[in-house]
């Protein structure tokens, strides 16, 4: 039996949420399903759904399928789709929104990309600066331990050329930055 349950009375919950959580005007509703986005995407071939499909799925209220999709995680943030979109949909910004929503809902399938972001921001939140060595080593040990061997000579090259810092740098105003971030997170939770 199909369609056993009655259609939801508020079928656009998910669409509304995606729009509300995108800074500025997402213009998501303006999508005319032309497919210029997917055709312009350098990593579109590796996505389970092209951006065009994802937007149709959002309108169809397919929350779980959208948030489980690898699509936003394969967005390389190149903005080709955004500048080519004839309807000026802020596609890249929407991809970032979908990443945040997938993490909040714990619905992503491949943990490598969200974990990379988490390790990256952990250094930033605690030091105020990014720390490449810490980021790469923590990330690779967790997700790609054999990958360390594959890029060992590159790492060695970076070290011998003096391009790798061994210790993170902490900004003077780290306490102020921590207070700013904590307050921002509180505010976002209140208004979510």
């Amino acid at each position: 039996m199909v369609n056993a349950s009655p259609p939801s009375l508020t079928p656009f919950d998910f669409l509304d949420e995606v729009q509300a959580r995108t800074p500025g005007q997402s213009r998501l509703l303006m999508c005319i399903q032309c497919g210029t986005c997917g055709g312009s995407c350098p990593s579109g071939a590796d996505m389970e759904h092209t951006p065009r499909s994802i937007f149709a799925m959002i309108r169809a209220d397919m929350r779980e399928e959208v948030l489980r999709s690898n699509t936003p995680w394969y967005c390389v943030s190149c903005y080709y789709c955004t500048v080519r979109c004839p309807q000026d949909v802020h596609i890249t910004d929407i991809m970032y929104t979908l990443k945040r929503m997938a993490v909040d809902a714990r619905l992503y399938e491949e943990p490598a990309a969200p974990d990379f972001s988490k390790v990256f921001i952990n250094w930033v939140e605690n030091y105020g600066r990014a720390f490449e060595l810490g980021l790469m080593s923590q990330h690779m040990l967790r997700h790609n331990p054999f990958g360390v061997l594959k890029i060992a000579d590159m790492g060695l090259g970076m070290v011998t050329k003096g391009r790798m810092a061994f210790t993170p740098k902490r900004i003077r105003g780290i306490q102020g930055l921590k207070a700013i971030i904590a307050r921002a997170k509180e505010l976002e939770a209140v208004h979510a």
Partner: protein
């Protein structure tokens, strides 16, 4: 050409995390060439990371507050000056944060509530964020730059590579084409280089994808390096530390992944300016690149000492390799590199 007789141009400067270490050569060469162009860059006090493309993937308001703290620091340091970022990712983040805060009063108010917790505030629209390339070309200009050239980059085939975040989503002035800009082409031209009309000039370097999915990341790097080699470019010129890292530091790993032997060095546009101004390679941080730039630079008479152990382009022959030894590609100018499989 007449001497430069204008007051020093002064700017606030946001180096960004990459320029502190892995792209130190970019910082060094920017400062060395700025001196020649009568430009002065003052680092803003106690700046923090812009969050790259990572923070916005996890946090919305906190990522804007993180970026806005830098804008507030810039106002505190020297409010009236333009804020210049040499890194395209920092540039876009700073610019976009200001733009969204200007357009969205609710966002601006919430970001300011967060900043207040750290004793700061930012009035949207008060900082003009610019990329270093734009500042050099718009405020100094080709004519004044050409006047400084003592060692024209004659005979050097250069592929100008802009990447994404300086080109798109088109937050710069209208005349810049988001897919086919010319500003870096023009700059290389006025340094005397032979500029390759590079069709992939604004394609993506892959950003963080080498860490997420090798297949995706290396493919994006391969397209660009192969493109430059196909056009017989001696080197790629870049305006972003992320692009440089991907195309240079990962070129060896990419070659191993695809069993190719490309060798296309990747230098910053400021290093090219410095060379044309007659500065020494050491002053410009040349030698820190992992894909050896010496064969290319020999074409313009620039000589460098033997590099310390780095990573070359061609994959090493394994000890247990039973296949017949193939003639080795000379580590010569790029463009002679061909796919080993062919």
């Amino acid at each position: 050409m007449p001497e430069l007789i204008r007051p020093k141009l002064a700017y606030n400067y946001f180096p960004g995390c990459s320029l502190e270490r892995n792209a130190e050569a970019y910082h060094k060469s920017s400062m060395a060439t700025a001196e020649r162009l009568s430009m002065r860059f003052e680092e803003i006090d106690d700046w923090n990371c812009c969050g790259a493309t990572e923070y916005i993937s996890l946090q919305m308001l906190a990522s804007y507050a993180l970026i806005a703290r830098n804008l507030a620091q810039a106002v505190k340091s020297n409010g009236g000056r333009d804020l210049v970022a040499p890194c395209s990712a920092c540039y876009l983040n700073l610019k976009k944060c200001d733009k969204h805060m200007r357009a969205d009063a609710v966002l601006a108010e919430r970001v300011n509530s967060a900043l207040a917790a750290g004793g700061l505030a930012y009035q949207p629209g008060s900082v003009h964020v610019r990329h270093l390339l734009d500042v050099v070309m718009e405020d100094v200009g080709c004519e004044a730059i050409a006047a400084q050239v003592t060692r024209p980059l004659k005979g050097l085939r250069v592929a100008p590579y802009y990447g994404c975040l300086i080109s798109r989503p088109g937050l710069r002035v209208d005349e810049h084409n988001p897919e086919y800009p010319m500003i870096l082409d023009d700059l290389m031209g006025c340094l005397g280089a032979q500029v390759v009309d590079f069709p992939l000039k604004t394609h993506c370097c892959g950003g963080h994808m080498t860490q997420i999915s090798e297949a995706t990341g290396f493919e994006l790097i391969r397209r660009l390096v192969k493109g430059a080699a196909d056009y017989q470019a001696d080197l790629i010129v870049t305006v972003c530390p992320m692009c440089q890292l991907n195309l240079d530091a990962f070129q060896g790993a990419m070659n191993r992944y695809f069993k190719t032997a490309y060798h296309v060095p990747v230098l910053y546009f400021t290093q090219m300016m410095g060379l044309a101004f007659g500065l020494s390679p050491e002053e410009l941080g040349i030698g820190a690149e992992l894909v050896d730039a010496r064969p290319a630079l020999a074409k313009i008479g620039v000589e460098l000492p033997e590099p310390v152990a780095g990573e070359g382009g061609a994959p090493k022959r394994r000890k247990d390799d039973k296949s017949l030894p193939m003639p080795k590609m000379p580590a010569g100018p790029a463009g002679t590199a061909e796919e080993v499989r062919r």
